[in-house]
Structures are given as C-alpha cells and as structure tokens.
C-alpha cells in the first residue's frame, strides 16, 4: 500500500473528539479522585485542594449510601437482564414459528417502547403506579383484589425494573429476531424431515445459532444496568421510597452538585467505570466461551 496521510485525516475528527470527551475526562476524574478540599493547618482555616491518595476511594467504598446503592443496582440488574433477555428471546423465537398470526402487529407493538425516551417512559409508568391515578390499582380494586402500593419500599425496585424491561425488550427482540432470520432455511427443512417439532427446532437449531447475538445483547444489557439513572431519578419526585442515593449514579450526582464534593463523586465515578469495564469484559469472555462451547 502507498504511504498516504489519508487515514490520519479520516480518523482525525474521531480521535480529537475521543481525546477531549473520553480520555481527558477520564484522566481529569482520576486526578480529582486523588484530591480533596481540606482545611490546612496554616492557622487561617482556609480550604485548600490537597493530595489525599486513596482516601476518597476508602470513604466511597465504605459509605453506606454507596454500598446500598451498589447492592440495589445489582438487584436491579439481576431482575432486568434475565427477564428482559428471556422475554426478548421468547418473542423472537415465537415470531419465527411458521403460521403464527398477527406477527407484524406484535412485532411493531413490542418494539414501540424503544421510541419512548427513558425519562418519558418513567413519567408514564410513574403515573401508572401513582396512587390516585394508577389504573393498576383501579383494576385491582374493581376485581376486589388487594390494592398494591407500587411505590412502597418493598415494591419500588420491581417497579423500576419493570420500566427498564418495558423499554428494552423490543429492541433486543428485534436484534435476536434479525439473527434468527439470518439462519439458512435449509437447516430447518433438514430438521423437519427428521421429524423435529417446532419447539425442538427453536431450542436445538435456532438457539445455538443465535447465541453470539444473545451474548452481545447480554453484554449491552449489563452495561445499561450499571448506568441506571433515568428511571429512579424520574420516579423519585413521586415516591418517598427512592432516596437521593438510590443507585450509585444518583449518589454521584448528589455529591457533585448538591454536596459540592466533586472529589468523592470523581472517586465513585472511577469505581463505577472500572467496575463496568471489568464486569463487561468478563461477561464477554465467559459468555463467549459458553457460546463457542455450544457451537461444538
């Protein structure tokens, strides 16, 4: 290949933007996370920014707020990721069963929530949960069932998880359905000649073949879990059960903008970003291994 400057010109805009909005913020966050505003002993009681090494990390990792937020986020992920992907996978496989009716209607309807911004979806569901307007509560009382309080401390995690599932199931369904449609038809014909039922074809032929797509969907679902913010933050005005540090990002926001402690916020951001990097890289490895294991 000829020597040319063209590739550098082509990647220049991306590299400049990456540097400004990815690398520099990461570096700046790490720098801030190692510092703190302290009153120094010069007798004047003035606050100075000083180097404190890993003090912020220690306090963040032991602060009950952050630890509880982290656990809550893991609980949220443990509900959302399997339920959302399970539903998306089931819908994708069912859409591909021959002679199922109304598939176009179902497909578009299930995909529709993707077009609804997370904040708007949370507002929407917030009204569906809110005592006084909730049709779910109306329906329960009309059927003389116990009326659920969907925003109580015991139920709110599920209510928030439901919003995440509702918003994500359609997109993942389409991604998986697209992968299913990419499988050559001859494979099914061979299986049918051998007397396989549609359920067997779905589980033994289609599922292994779309596992790579499922792995990608799983990794992105995990990443999305670790940055959950919009849903609980939007529901917070409607419910006393959602504190200002309900998930780590809410606590980061509170520290940085309400408590004016950007140093702790920076340390928490680094922990969260590193955690995401490790978890998603590990998930990618493990799931991929399993995916290839299934292929053989």
């Amino acid at each position: 290949m000829r020597r040319t400057s063209a590739p550098y010109v082509f990647v220049a805009p991306a590299v400049i933007l990456l540097a400004i909005f990815l690398l520099v913020p990461i570096g700046y966050t790490v720098w801030l996370s190692l510092r703190a505003s302290r009153v120094t002993g010069d007798g004047l009681g003035l606050r100075h920014e000083v180097f404190v090494a890993f003090d912020n990390y220690k306090s963040v990792l032991t602060a009950p707020d952050y630890v509880h937020g982290l656990l809550r986020m893991l609980g949220y992920g443990a509900i959302v990721v399997p339920v959302m992907l399970g539903l998306a996978l089931s819908f994708a496989l069912l859409l591909d069963v021959p002679r199922v009716r109304l598939t176009r209607f179902s497909r578009i309807s299930i995909f529709l929530p993707y077009a609804v911004p997370g904040v708007i979806a949370s507002l929407l569901w917030g009204f569906l949960y809110l005592p006084g307007v909730s049709p779910i509560r109306d329906a329960a009382s009309a059927l003389s069932l116990p009326v659920p309080d969907l925003l109580s401390p015991n139920t709110v995690l599920f209510s928030v998880a439901n919003i995440g599932i509702w918003g994500g199931v359609g997109f993942n369904m389409i991604v998986l359905y697209t992968a299913v449609r990419g499988i050559p038809q001859e494979l099914y014909d061979a299986a049918r000649v051998d007397g396989a039922s549609e359920v067997q074809i779905a589980l033994r032929v289609k599922l292994p073949l779309i596992t790579p797509a499922l792995v990608m969907a799983g990794v992105f679902a995990i990443i999305a879990t670790l940055q959950v913010y919009n849903e609980p933050a939007t529901l917070a005005p409607l419910s006393d059960s959602i504190s200002s540090s309900w998930v780590p990002l809410m606590a980061i926001y509170r520290d940085a903008f309400v408590n004016n402690d950007i140093y702790s916020a920076a340390a928490a951001s680094v922990v969260l970003a590193l955690g995401t990097l490790v978890v998603s890289a590990a998930a990618l490895r493990v799931l991929q291994k399993r995916a290839f294991g299934l292929d053989r």
């Binding site: 063209a6 992968a179 990608m216 005005p237 950007i262 951001s269 995401t276």
Partner: protein, 297 residues
C-alpha cells in the same frame, strides 16, 4: 441479509408442516400478550391526556373524558410559560438531528479508515474505542461537565452537541460494516487507475456504507433524543432544555402544584407521538443485523 421491521416474507412456501391449530394459537396468544404489555402504557397516556386536572385523579383510568380536558391540557401546555414546550421540542430536534448527522459522519469516515488502512497507531485507536464502548458514557458526564465549565462552554447548545457527536459504539459498528461491504478489489483497481485516496473514499468507500449509515443515524438520533443526564447537567437555562429535561422539571414542580400533572401527561403524549411516527415511517431502513454482529465479511 436485510431484515427489517416490516419484512416478513413468506417462509419457504409449500413445505410439509405438522403444525396444528393449537400449536400456532399459543405463540400467537403469547405474542399478543407481549404487545398488550408494551402498548397499554402508551394507550393509557392517550386516554389520560383527555382528562383535565381534576378528572385525572377522580375518574376511572381507562375511560376517556369528553369534558374538554384534552383541549384544556393542550392549550394550557402550549401556553405554559409563553409556549416553552415548543422551544423544548425544537431543542430536542436540534440536539438529536444535528448531533446524529455529525456523529454518523465522524463515525463512518473513521470506521472506514480503521477497516481499510494499515497505519501506525491504528491498533491503539481501536483499543481506545473498544474501551470507550465498555465505559458507560454517563459516568463521563460529570467530568465532561467540569471540563466544559472550565472552558466556559456549559449552558450552551455546544455543551450537549459536542459530547453527543462522539460515539465509540458507532465507530466500532462502522469499522465492522466497512470491513464487510467495501470492496478491496475496487479500491485497488481505483489506485491502479491513479485515483486519489480522498476520491476513492468518497466514490468507492462511502457509497456501499449508506444502509449502515442510515441505521446508525437512527440509533444515534434515538440515543441523543432520549439522553437525559447530559443535558440535565450541562444546561441551566430552561430555554435550552430538550423535551426530556423540560418535562422532568415540570413534573418536579407538579409535586407542589398538582394541577401541572395533567399538563405533564399531555406533554408526555405529545413527545411520544413524533418518535413513533418516525419509527413507523423509517422502519424499512433498519439494518439491525449490524447491531447483532451478523455482518461479517
């Protein structure tokens, strides 16, 4: 393989099937239940938008009101603070429209270069992009805010637009897509004919990438339209809010002025409509095999 939302071409016709009525009823019923779950909240908001501020809390949820609540909500929402709702809608359109176009331009050309050239630094750039895919953008929002505030850029359109342009995932997808669809033979032939690299990129490289670019454009448009934390941090002036932040602040005021709730419901209804229309109109251009990694040269 171009699977889109609309296309459901009849599967291999005339094959022998032992499918009974029962075994196709069950999948149909499950799918319709799924559709019901996804549609009901949207339908509810359409019904709730017909109710005035007093009816919202007193009438049965799934019964639309005919007492002029719809008109009341609509006019009061559009008059709210001198028609600021229109301003928010326009802002959302500016952020998402301009941001997604620029983002696709930057991602496509970078993806093309990373896929089709071997040059020093290429691996480092690609690894940085992969790390960028895995680091949640949202954790960067706070440091981005701190940096832009040092530069005096916060509270401006640019403070939301610029960070929205860079999409590591978009670059990553563009690279995979360019590797799959841009022909090396055509590029070589062009070079032998003496075409310059820039002309080649334009005429041989970018043309086959157009379907992927459209998909990326839609993904990015939705991502920016739906973004909340970034504009929420960056923008303090409510005349520069996008719709998501605007409606959120209205809901917050609603806690002290419950009369605003019915206006927020109307706002939610109005903000959902254009995206749904956009989707129904553009769904044929989706190429989501790109997202699942099915496009491999």
């Amino acid at each position: 393989m171009t699977t889109t939302l609309v296309d459901a071409p009849a599967k291999t016709a005339g094959k022998v099937s032992r499918t009974t009525t029962k075994s196709r009823m069950l999948p149909t019923i499950i799918l319709i239940l799924g559709a019901f779950y996804c549609l009901v909240p949207v339908l509810w908001v359409a019904v709730a938008a017909t109710k005035g501020p007093t009816e919202l809390f007193t009438t049965f949820s799934f019964w639309p009101s005919v007492h002029g609540g719809f008109w009341y909500n609509l006019t009061h929402l559009l008059d709210f603070r001198d028609g600021i709702f229109w301003r928010w809608a326009l802002n959302s359109l500016i952020y998402a429209g301009l941001g997604s176009v620029l983002s696709v331009a930057v991602s496509t050309i970078a993806g093309y270069a990373l896929a089709k050239y071997r040059f020093p630094g290429r691996e480092v750039i690609f690894l940085t992009i992969l790390a960028g895919v895995l680091v949640p953008q949202i954790t960067l929002a706070v440091p981005q805010y701190l940096l832009l505030s040092k530069l005096g850029l916060v509270n401006s359109y640019l403070s939301v637009l610029l960070p929205s342009i860079i999409s590591p995932y978009g670059i990553y997808l563009s690279r995979i897509y360019a590797a799959a669809v841009v022909s090396d033979d055509l590029l070589e032939a062009g070079r032998i004919d003496g075409a310059g690299e820039y002309r080649l990129a334009w005429s041989v490289g970018l043309r086959p990438m157009v379907p992927g670019m459209v998909t990326l454009l839609l993904l990015q448009f939705v991502a920016i339209w739906n973004n909340f934390l970034l504009p929420y941090l960056m923008i303090a002036n409510d005349r520069r809010f996008p719709m998501t932040v605007g409606l959120y602040t209205m809901l917050n005021q609603g806690a002290s002025q419950p009369a605003l709730y019915s206006l927020v419901v109307m706002g939610v209804f109005l903000s959902v409509l254009p995206l749904i229309a956009l989707f129904l109109f553009l769904q044929r251009y989706w190429r989501l095999d790109l997202v699942s990694g099915a496009t491999k040269g």
